[in-house]
């Protein structure tokens, strides 16, 4: 056995050990180098699970295969305002708590269907609030609407919206997506102003 294989096997063993409950206390740092935020390996795992629920592995690669959770963290660290970063970290805590409160399980213990339902419920609440705010904004002199406290804190929704946005951003701008799904041409070399198109019949 060469040295590289030994290390690989060792990594598998250690990786397996990480599944033991005792290791949930492990404060290991995230794999991606971050300048402005502090993320533990457990938190990174949670973001990975959320990202994988958003873009799951199917017949094609999913979020974890494409390391989109690490991209989410990279973007959060570099491209967001400090208050958004703080809200993200706080919201991530609320997210973990809410999973236990609503489903009596940590997010990683939920089955796929429940994970999806959980995320969709957060998304639904966010959308309803946006619609209400917009409606209120249309009435210029109206008193600010008293937004009834929903199930999810503003920070939680912020956390979720950043993970979702950057997971999709990372996915649709990934080499995999841009060479296999919607092909990006660096040098098209052509412009056809009139190109026939056949619309599919509505199903």
């Amino acid at each position: 056995m060469d040295r590289r294989t030994v290390i690989k096997n060792l990594a598998l063993i250690i990786g397996g050990a990480a599944l033991l409950p005792a290791c949930s206390q492990d404060k290991a740092k995230s794999k991606v180098a971050l300048k402005n935020i502090d993320i533990t390996a457990d938190q990174e795992q949670l973001i990975g699970d959320v990202a994988e629920t958003i873009i799951p592995k199917t017949t094609t690669p999913g979020a974890k295969d494409l390391q989109l959770h690490l991209f989410v963290l990279k973007m959060l660290d570099d491209c967001y305002k400090k208050e958004d970063q703080q809200a993200f970290v706080t919201g991530m805590g609320h997210f973990a708590d809410q999973s236990k409160k609503l489903y009596s399980k940590t997010f990683d213990q939920l089955d796929i269907k429940t994970r999806e339902a959980f995320l969709l419920d957060i998304e639904q609440e966010g959308k309803a609030e946006e619609a209400a705010a917009q409606k209120n904004g249309d009435k210029k002199d109206a008193a600010p609407a008293t937004i009834s406290a929903g199930k999810y804190s503003p920070e939680l929704k912020k956390f979720y919206s950043i993970v979702k946005r950057q997971t999709i951003n990372g996915y649709t701008n990934s080499k995999y997506f841009m060479t296999n799904i919607v092909v990006y041409e660096l040098v098209p070399g052509r412009y056809n102003a009139h190109f026939p198109y056949k619309q599919k019949q509505a199903v």
């Binding site: 570099d78 990372g170 649709t172």
Partner: protein, 571 residues
């Protein structure tokens, strides 16, 4: 020692000095070196060599660390330049950062700059339209600014001259108010752009939708191949610098051409502090340069000096060139230097959908960007409650609508959707603004930059005419869109500061009368015959065409005149 000094002066003496290596400076350098003049090109920024210094030009989207977005720290440190649409991860290295070169905003002004060899010619939107006499006669007819000292016939041959070399794509549309040029084949309008063109033609007498004319090599000619440029590859990531030389930039075109002649010396990192005026000789003898690396002050000398530092920096240099003869700035006997600055009003847009032509789309990308609607307001006579008018961009496009709703495999399916949505159409306004004495730049009497040059103060604003014109653009385009059967029409206006159009002009305007202008009809300083200004600073009025082509033509024409005057011994 004495000999050494003489040698040093000799080494620092040229036939011509060109201040600035961008859109117009590159042309001056090319023209002088073509005729064998020993030419010094001064550039305040770093060198950017064609291809070699385009670090992002062949990068795929996924190769950008933040997929095109700039880190928040960069955005927060650069609120001004961050408002420019092209300031992103792929081209930020070609823009001046806010803190690097401060200026004073007595009134808000977004000064977008590119300090490097090539200047903003690397970054421009590459739209090129000629002026006509409807533009040159504007100030005299409508009673603002001063009369242009030239007419279309004076500049027309020079438009042809620069167009052939630069490579301009367009159709010969036969529109009097937007004269035809020496065109390479146009980038065609697509199905819906053509539909709108035909509709507008049938409904209005003097409104046209044409293929946008642009500085791209749709089909290059020998003169372009001789420059080392090849056909435009329709990449539309031009702001990164083009390895094909598919569009006109000084970097791909005029600067290497001038250097190839063996007559040019390019000196980057050279801020021109002032132009040296000799009271006895009654002319300029050279320029005082600060080397930005060593902070050393060095003088260079020449028979003729072309100021092409970009409109407002050209004003700054002239204002800062003070002498006993010119206490208020070089050539400023009239007192108008720095005044009558104007720009283009880009603050209105309109978008809509078109529920038709479903059996057509486009393939590849259009570097021209689509269509162009020449000015149709107040062309033949005054017809509105505001002066002048606007040109408009127009483009139609369709794309797959990819919903971000939901999660899981259904979201994945949505993101992979290739089914096209309806056609979208869009237009933006490009309005003429009226030069006024109250729109001016001046030097601060206390604050200086890192090179000891006074900071420029901006006092430039919109006026009532701009507001009325903006309202008219929205009304007219809404009407045109409505009658074309476009739906879901949404007009929007924004509160952008002047400057973001990156078409600042004037301050050292041309005119017949030395009492009310700085330059004569040859872009020559009235009172300092061996100094010429051929960039945006020279503009008497702005009309609404994209200005770069006109700067190029002015520059080639002025260089030709300067050389004939040199031959005659007049300068």
């Amino acid at each position: 020692m004495a000999n050494l000094n003489i040698d040093s002066v000799k080494q620092r003496t040229f036939d011509a000095i060109v201040i600035g290596s961008g859109m117009s400076g590159g042309w001056a350098a090319k023209e002088f070196t073509d005729k064998g003049l020993k030419t010094l090109i001064l550039e305040r920024g770093r060198d950017v060599k064609h291809i070699k210094d385009y670090p992002t030009t062949n990068m795929y989207p996924w190769e950008f660390e933040h997929r095109g977005e700039l880190p928040m720290a960069v955005q927060e440190a650069n609120p001004i330049v961050n408002r420019c649409y092209a300031f992103g991860e792929s081209a930020a290295h070609f823009f001046v950062k806010d803190a690097e070169h401060p200026y004073i905003q007595d009134k808000p002004f977004d000064w977008i700059r590119g300090y490097q060899v090539g200047g903003k010619s690397l970054l421009w939107a590459r739209q090129t339209q000629r002026w006509s006499d409807f533009d040159f006669e504007g100030p005299a007819r409508d009673g603002f600014a001063v009369d242009w000292p030239i007419r279309y016939k004076d500049i027309a041959p020079w438009y042809s001259y620069v167009e052939k070399f630069a490579g301009i794509s367009g159709n010969r549309d036969g529109i009097a108010e937007l004269p035809d040029g020496e065109f390479l084949p146009a980038f065609p309008l697509n199905t819906v752009e053509e539909y709108f063109r035909d509709h507008v033609k049938s409904k209005y007498k003097n409104r046209y939708v044409i293929s946008a004319r642009c500085a791209h090599l749709s089909t290059p000619k020998q003169i372009h191949l001789d420059q080392g440029r090849v056909q435009c590859q329709r990449r539309t990531i031009c702001e990164r610098g083009c390895p094909f030389g598919g569009y006109f930039s000084a970097n791909a075109t005029t600067i290497p051409w001038a250097l190839k002649s063996g007559h040019a010396t390019l000196r980057p990192f050279s801020v021109v502090e002032s132009i040296i005026y000799d009271e006895k000789l009654g002319k300029a003898t050279g320029v005082r340069v600060i080397d930005t690396n060593t902070k050393e002050a060095i003088e260079y000398y020449a028979k003729v000096i072309f100021v092409n530092a970009a409109a407002l920096n050209t004003n700054l240099i002239l204002l800062n060139s003070k002498s006993h003869r010119f206490p208020n700035g070089l050539g400023n006997d009239s007192g108008v230097l720095g005044k009558y600055v104007a720009f283009h009003n880009y603050s209105a847009h309109i978008g809509a959908e078109y529920d038709g032509a479903k059996e057509w789309t486009t393939d590849g990308r259009n570097p021209a960007g689509g269509g162009y609607i020449p000015r149709f307001r107040n062309v033949y006579k005054q017809e509105t409650d505001f002066l002048r008018g606007y040109a408009s961009g127009f483009s139609a496009y369709r794309y797959p609508e990819r919903s971000w709703d939901g999660v899981g495999s259904s979201l994945k399916d949505n993101l992979a959707n290739k089914e096209l949505g309806p056609w979208h159409v869009g237009s933006h306004m490009m309005g003429e603004t009226i030069p006024k004495e109250s729109n001016f730049v001046s030097l601060d009497d206390k604050q200086k930059d890192a090179w000891g040059v006074p900071l420029l103060k901006m006092n430039i604003d919109y006026d009532d005419n701009d507001e009325k014109m903006k309202k008219d653009y929205v009304e007219q385009l809404t009407e045109m869109f409505t009658s074309a059967g476009f739906t879901n029409i949404k007009a929007s206006t924004d509160k952008r500061a002047p400057g973001l159009d990156i078409h600042e002009m004037g301050g050292a305007r041309m005119g017949n009368d030395p009492k009310t202008s700085i330059l004569n009809k040859w872009n020559q300083v009235h009172s300092v015959k061996n100094v010429f200004v051929t960039d945006g600073a020279s503009m008497t009025s702005t009309s609404c065409q994209n200005p770069s082509l006109t700067y190029m033509a002015f520059t080639a024409r002025a260089a030709d005149y300067a050389m004939s005057e040199m031959k005659k011994g007049n300068i």
